[in-house]
Amino acid sequence: MSEVFPFNFPVETAVYLFLLTLSWALHFFFVGYVVAGSVYLAAASLRRSNSGDADPIEAVVRDWMPSALGAAITAGVAPLLFVQVVYQVEFYTAGLLISTRFMLILPALITAFYLFYVQKTKRFANWRRPTRAGIALAALACVFFVGTTWMRVHWLTVNKSSWEDLGNPPLDFGNGHQALARGGVFFAAAILLGSAVVRAQLGSPGIGGSPLSGAARRLSRIMGFGMAAMIAALAGAAFVYRAWPGPWMALTARADQPYWVLMLVAVLIFGVFIPSRPEAARARLRARAQLLAAFFIAVALAGIREGLRSRFAMMSTLHPRHFSLAEKGGWAVFAAFAAVNAACIAAAIRIARSRCERQA
């Protein structure tokens, strides 16, 4: 156990890294839905001449996108906090080096939210296709911009050598091939996460209505595509990263290996439970297993991502700082309220769901 990231570090550093990794996984769970959903809505707006509720997947995604983005932003606050604790200088410097782009995250997210909200209004369905496509594509562009900006920030935090080119920071996402490989893995994971959540929503009365055979078939195809994309992206990433000894050694380090295993197991579970026929036995249980697998994918991605960053950050120099921060106190209050508030969140969801289901 002590050789697995982040527990291969001294306890103070390990605690902060654990919280960073876990909270990022939670954040990515919602981000996956937003990314996959915005791509689906953009594709749907280009594909059909009339936006209606004929496609239950489109209807449920359209309905939930503003809330999903809200959840992604809310969940994103915690990793944003812990990254400042663990990698303060690196993170701040990265944000300052791409100052304008860093600050544009905010208007991009605000724009995306309202564009998603517009897409769920009844009026939207009656607009002309170019207008609808323009709105859906603009929302997708905002999401793409925010995602690639965070990728760039991450790249800068692990590549201090790039800080020397300060007067004229490069505009690409770091090394082009590496960025493409990382982006590919994230996108494939987003498809799997998003489709797993949509399946659960469609199968949950009161949220998405009854799963329809056509929708189930389409969802199966999307999940199959996501699986293929994930395998291709992982293979591509392995091919690209092998050329860079530093990152390759970090990615294949023993501490990160459990995350690769978790990733493979999760993808396998995901594949086993892909809906094969519209009325599969124990559909809800199978959907939940797939949802759990999707969360494992998010955890595996977070572990690999942060494990890689920790190799470049010279943790031995950061540990004294983490040690002094841990001594400041307040963690017990956090732990207590985290438990209480988790129960409150569960209660709020139960209240809303039980009523919605009863009504349905």
């Binding site: 809200g70 100052s99 409150c344």
Partner: protein, 473 residues
């Protein structure tokens, strides 16, 4: 020598003062966040009326009001909260770094409440219409308590900046969190939140279709009750004022005309608002239309803006009282800088460094960036070119060397004589239109004068008795 802090590749925002950027973001965020907090309390009140059957319109009003809350406060409020972090990193990374270091568990705790607020809020938004009164009340109560606790946690961090109290000695989280300004600030902000929520309720009531004139009047009268805590706001403001350090109070009472004016603006706007609300709405039960409600809300925004300006400004010359100056340099580091210099260690080049005629001007540019740039621009808002433009070169040397005594809300100069001369030369060169050639200053007599003024000024702030003692022969 002590371990030196990290330097950051700081940017400038052109003619915009950094304080204006973060201040603008902060004011919008505070207003929206207070709307969310007060909104929760208001909704609980109306849900109670609905549950008891005392107001048949309450339920309909809640559903309309909640939509406004979600669309405006949930999105813009939440995102400007994240935006405060992003902006603070751009404006003063070291300050936000110190705050995160000290209070990261408090922030993490606040996040758990924020999650409850968002989940309960969205649950109500999606299912509230179909829920029975009891379930609605449960969700609204969860939302409201969580929103108020968000204020509770953040208020401790914000009030700590001005009145750190026992933290200065103990350096523990809770000695800083429960600081002298904590309770008056918390109660004042709670009352303020309820007022904002009521004012926005007036707008929503007027904007919602389907209500008759009498029904609107009835709902307005109910919502006005949320403004009653305004009665306590003057006393809470005085309590908060008394917890402030003496020098901070002096800025507000005439020591700084700008701050006195903003204080007057905050107090005047609040009194007008309070007078209208308490006499007109609560006592005389006047009707208020949408236009008037919007005007009053704008007045509340103005009061919030002035109040936040006063709160931020009264911390000068510190950003964390007695621990970190406004330019993110600690009092101990000033002492180090006087001997070994400061800006000379900055590894990051200036954006247009190759256009500088000599290395002295580059050093001066870095001194400006590190020490002045957080509150001043060169030519824009609070521009140094305007402020020192009429000073002779001797005046510049002396006034900057004795900075904390020239203007007591300025921090002491953090650097050696060479760095100060570099700053003086940089300001002169920039004021002259940045000519291609500029002779390097090697005036040994001037250097000795600067050193004398620096020694005379000391390294303490210009406002404390210790600094006064240093000035005594």
């Amino acid at each position: 020598m002590d371990r030196l802090p990290a330097f950051y590749p700081l940017n400038d925002f052109g003619p915009l003062m950094k304080g204006m950027v973060i201040g603008g973001m902060g004011i919008v965020h505070v207003f929206l966040a207070q709307f969310a907090i007060g909104g929760g309390l208001l909704l609980c009140y109306f849900q109670r009326l609905a549950s008891g059957g005392r107001d048949p319109l309450a339920r309909r009003f809640i559903d309309g009001y909640f939509k406004a809350l979600v669309l405006v406060s949930f999105v813009l409020g939440a995102l400007t909260g994240v935006g405060m972090w992003l902006t603070a990193i751009q404006v003063s990374p070291r300050t936000i770094g110190v705050m995160v270091d000290e209070f990261h568990w408090v922030w993490a705790t606040e996040w758990t409440f924020f999650c409850v607020e968002v989940v309960a809020g969205y649950a109500f938004y999606r299912c509230g219409v179909r829920l029975p009164d009891r379930s609605r009340m449960a969700l609204l109560a969860m939302y409201s308590v969580a929103a108020w606790f968000s204020l509770f946690w953040i208020n401790g961090i914000l009030s700590w900046q001005l009145t750190p109290g026992a933290w200065v000695v103990r350096r523990t989280v809770w000695s800083g969190f429960f600081n002298p300004g904590f309770w008056p600030s918390l109660l004042y902000r709670t009352a303020s939140s309820m007022t904002i929520a009521a004012l926005i309720a007036f707008i929503v009531i007027n904007a919602m279709p389907g209500f008759s004139s009498d029904e609107r009047r009835g709902l307005i009268r109910r919502a006005s009750n949320l403004m009653l805590p305004m009665l306590f706001m003057p006393a809470l403001a005085v309590w908060y004022f008394l917890t402030m350090p003496a020098d901070s109070r002096s800025w507000l009472l005439g020591g700084s005309p700008a701050m006195s004016l903003f204080l007057a603006g905050a107090a005047g706007s609040s009194m007008l608002l309070g007078g209208y609300a308490l006499i007109g709405l609560v006592r005389q039960r006047l009707y208020i239309n949408g236009a008037t409600a919007t005007t009053l809300t704008a007045l509340a925004f103005s009061a919030t803006a002035c109040g936040e300006f006063v709160r931020e400004g009264s911390r000068k010359p510190y950003t964390v009282r007695e621990a970190l100056y406004a330019n993110s340099i600690t009092p101990e580091e000033v002492k180090i800088a006087r001997v070994a210099g400061w800006a000379g260690r900055d590894p990051y080049p200036l954006p247009d460094e190759s256009a500088y005629p000599n290395s002295q001007l580059v050093l001066g540019g870095k001194v400006f960036r590190l020490q002045c740039g957080v509150c001043h621009t060169l030519d824009g808002a609070n521009g140094l070119t305007h402020l020192v433009g009429t000073w002779s070169i001797e005046q510049r040397r002396m006034n900057l060397a004795r900075l904390q005594h020239t203007k007591p809300f300025m921090p002491p100069f953090a650097g050696n004589a060479d760095e100060l001369e570099a700053l003086v030369q940089f300001l002169g060169w920039h004021g002259a239109g940045r000519p291609r050639n500029w002779t390097r200053s090697n005036d040994e007599a001037a250097r000795r004068s600067i050193q004398g003024w620096l020694d005379e000024a000391g390294t303490g702030p210009g406002t404390t008795p210790a600094a006064e003692a240093e000035r005594e022969p």
